[in-house]
Symmetry: C2
Subunit: 106 residues, 2 copies
């Protein structure tokens, strides 16, 4: 069994200070050993028809479904998720085992 | 400048044979040298409230924005995108420079 990703696409409410949330998320993730890696990004092409208003992507990688479950059910995640969700106008979350169809060159 | 990702979240129309589209996508990507890597996955937790009906994620990684642009404007991509988009009930596309907030252990 390979890696599992927890992916969030979000649109923040107006007036939200994204840097503060990012700081909180980075701090949380750094404390949680079951999170293998964490990357994020902000849409640059701004094609409203395609992004549907979503502006940011947050992607957490886990070594297994067990690690994902242990993260999701952790009280620190629950505490942060409450604050985070309250800052969002829209969100989509998808959890999926990663299938590597074209590996990065070594 | 680091990597750039082209991320698609989709919900397929009823009756679509996903394997056929995946085969086409994998073939396309394997022919396009500017695509550094390609991974995909299917949601496993099925939390409708969070997934909003989206079921699959497709993620292409490029070494630079120039490579992404060259891929997006390539006629082979345009040809495939037409077929692909016609198979979708819903889609969100986000293009973003990757910020690594917690790197995977070496």
């Amino acid at each position: 069994m390979g890696e599992v990703k927890h992916l969030c696409l979000v649109k923040f409410k107006e007036g939200i200070i994204v840097d503060d949330l990012l700081k909180g998320m980075t701090e949380l993730v750094s404390q949680m050993d079951m999170v293998k890696s964490f990357e994020w990004g902000e849409d640059v092409l701004n094609q409203e028809m395609l992004t549907q208003g979503f502006t940011h992507v947050f992607s957490l990688t886990f070594a297994s479904t067990e690690d994902l479950t242990s993260y999701m059910s952790h009280e620190r995640h629950a505490a942060f998720a409450g604050t985070f969700m309250a800052a969002l106008d829209k969100v989509v979350v998808i959890d999926f085992p990663v299938v590597i169809a074209k590996p990065a060159p070594a």
